[in-house]
Symmetry: C2
Subunit: 460 residues, 2 copies
């Protein structure tokens, strides 16, 4: 079966759906092909019953993430503040200590983390976000890992350890795996055209990227976008091959072929290399996409009749510098209605690598013990536990985003968004601002739509 | 169409063919599925006419590479010494200078390169080759790039620049892209069970990995292995999907399905992730294979009526520390008959990234100018030029081998060879000794055959 449209969109995550909506708004005929049996990509709601949901994927939104916030407003999806009252908890080698705002109370880390943040926020301002390879000293910064960069002048490993706790969820990786230039660029993008990125905006709840959540769950954005597109989406239709000629592009699925003038490929770059391309992807772009490997991340959520830690004056937020914990950081993830109570922990990077191969029961027990170190023994008796390992998802195979190793940005970075004939790229990894976030996905979808309208002209 | 055998082998490179031969020798029924329309993988002969060949892929062999040498002897393929007489040439910023053996005559590099080699050869002896993550200080060595490691205590960038020239062909990458631990492990493997690896054995012609070549071209090994296997090979049959159950494994090609008790997947790890797996690859193994990205490398060979540089007392060997040269190193690659004359240059890493996107004519002119800096103006008038860009090959997409970024070996390295149910792994990247070389490929093929015979028992 062969069907024709103006623009094919591969991938019904936030980037692909945003692009499809914008293209259709300009009068172009579009069709979205999605490998999964659902829309939303790395955002997915989990139904708790009784009208409550939690998210098993991307969920937080915060200041300067204007593009996803504007989209939500247009779709009528509200936000609510993530729970951020009461004491936070720092667990170091099994011992819990309460703290209020900001950096965990670790005397071995505080001097270094303060200096690290200052160095980082100073350097990020030197990075031209769209062309990080033009940063002063770019070659040097891309020749080393974020670890060796962070360690320079540090007194102990404390600052680096806390950075790694953050990267466990932000990168699903460690500072060892990231280029210093990539790391700085990532933090530099935690802002918008008017507000420079800062590390605090990545790490904070109030005032940062974890400030708010979407009423009804983040997947609602994609569900509503999809509703608006009606039957212009085919689910369970992995695109196996893409061919293009001088006049046309064709996407082949197991159920049939779509032809079009243009195609938007809005899937993780490392998965884009797995499509059978004819002609082949340009070699430098292929080399780059190979190197845009995904981190390793799982989310574990425990559900309780109510958020019992709140009345004990606890925020439910925890930070773990603790080799025995599979969790690097945790949050109160209860729905806005105030009940049931949900604790959510990130199992990322080294924690994931140690714990993912173990039996589910053992891992779950260790996660609940980690939660109990923060909120007490009641955490050991959840009514249910939801585990979502994004590395086990065929159409993501990792999470939350791609992390660039040393040498990649300066050598190959400029190929990231270059159209390949009739093929255009989108996805959270294709945004300079909020790379890897929902806001980056929406931005990339808007950008690719403009690119195509520039090339094809609008019909309206 | 469904066909059955005992063991399917995916990939008719040296690893797959060696495995197939060893399994059949034990009485097992095998069938090899190859994506290309030829055997040999990263080895391929180019016919010069008149009974002469040169290689467009892997070609050199040297001391301690006993496994590929033994295979060659069994197949009746002889070796001959690579041409290594006369003066070598070092081209620095356009200026050529002759030198005899060893390290190029660069006063800004010599002190550092001497110290670098000494540090390297000392440390490689501390690496347990089969478990590099148990190296003393493994975490530290895997937390930094080979660049920052090499720079420590260096006086200038000279030593590092020469290391990068070497890695341009050895890794198709730079020291920026490699973990220090991976780099040391790679050099540690340049030996065998009786002879520790050294850096000199990687770099040398006489006494090193470039010492000899195979009469008739390196692809002859695979051609003869394939001849021995007869109709047990299907060419032009990319394996698109692999399914396994408790009792059987199935490999799906466009032309039909093969079922078997076991399957050997002997393709580059990053391409193995592109197969559609059911069940999915174990997540940590998938995460590792994603990160075994291939370098970027092309070979350019210019053919002349005779090797005219020899009578001028030149070896034809050149080393380029020269931003204007697309070539990082060059060799006399003439057939053993002594004619025609062939000069071969590696265009790797940064050279490849600068030059691969340019028009072929421009690149070819620059390569010939580089050759002429070494052997004189006659190099500008070749009778033909052969360019083989391995990044443009659909079934390799890079070259010569996979290079591990920081953090990968210690975090995920142990998953490299772990069988996945009925799936077993082979290929040059699966060998501890001579990883990425023909010898490593042959070793991995022998190892995987033993592994399967251990699991299934032989029929003989």
């Amino acid at each position: 079966m062969i069907s024709n449209t103006d623009v094919i969109v591969v991938g019904a995550g936030l980037a692909g759906l945003t692009a499809a909506r914008a293209l259709r708004a300009k009068g172009l005929d579009i069709h979205v092909l999605e490998a999964r049996d659902r829309v939303g990509g790395r955002t997915v709601n989990h139904d708790l019953g009784g009208g409550h949901v939690v998210e098993a994927g991307g969920q937080f939104v915060g200041p300067t993430q204007d593009h996803v916030l504007k989209l939500a407003a247009e779709l009528g999806v509200g936000t609510f503040p993530a729970y951020d009252s009461g004491a936070n908890t720092y667990v170091k080698n099994g011992k819990a200590r309460r703290f209020s705002r900001g950096v965990p109370p670790d005397v071995t880390a505080l001097p270094d983390i303060g200096r690290l943040i200052a160095r980082l926020d100073r350097l990020t301002r030197t990075i031209p976000l769209a062309e990080p390879w033009r940063t002063p000293n770019a070659r040097e910064l891309d020749a080393e890992t974020l670890t060796t960069w962070a360690r320079r002048g540090a007194l102990t490993d404390g600052g680096l350890d806390l950075l790694n706790i953050l990267l466990g969820s932000a990168f699903g990786g460690t500072a060892n795996e990231a280029s210093a230039l990539f790391g700085l660029w990532y933090f530099a993008g935690a802002g918008n055209e008017h507000t420079p990125g800062t590390m605090a905006r990545i790490t904070n709840v109030s005032g940062g990227a974890q400030e708010s959540r979407f009423v009804g769950g983040s997947q609602r954005l994609s569900l509503l976008l999809a509703e608006g597109l009606g039957d212009a989406i085919t689910l369970s239709a992995p695109v196996r091959a893409i061919d293009q000629t001088a006049t046309e592009v064709a996407a082949h699925t197991d159920g049939g072929t779509w032809t079009a003038k243009r195609i938007v490929v809005a899937v993780p770059p490392h998965l884009a290399t797995r499509i059978t391309w004819s002609p082949l992807l340009p070699a430098p772009q292929e080399a780059l996409f190979q190197r845009m490997t995904f981190g390793t991340l799982a989310k574990v959520e425990a559900v309780y009749p109510e958020p019992f830690w709140r009345e004990a004056g606890l925020s439910g937020q925890g930070v773990f510098r603790d080799p025995a914990s599979p969790v690097c950081s945790m949050f109160d993830n209860s729905p806005p209605e105030g009940g049931p109570g949900v604790l959510m922990g990130f199992v990322g990077a080294r924690q994931w690598r140690n714990w993912a191969p173990k039996p589910a029961k053992e891992r779950r027990g260790a996660v609940l013990r980690a939660f109990s170190a923060v909120v007490g023994a009641r955490a050991l008796q959840p009514s249910s536990v939801i585990e979502k390992d994004w590395t086990a998802e065929e159409w993501t195979r990792g999470g939350p985003t791609s992390v660039l190793a040393p040498g990649v940005l300066t050598e190959l970075g400029r190929w990231r968004d270059v159209p390949f004939g009739r093929v255009h790229w989108a996805g959270a990894e294709h945004s300079d601002y909020w790379n890897g976030y929902m806001d980056g996905a929406v931005r990339s979808g808007e950008q690719v739509a403009s690119e195509i309208i520039g090339a094809e002209g609008a019909l309206s």
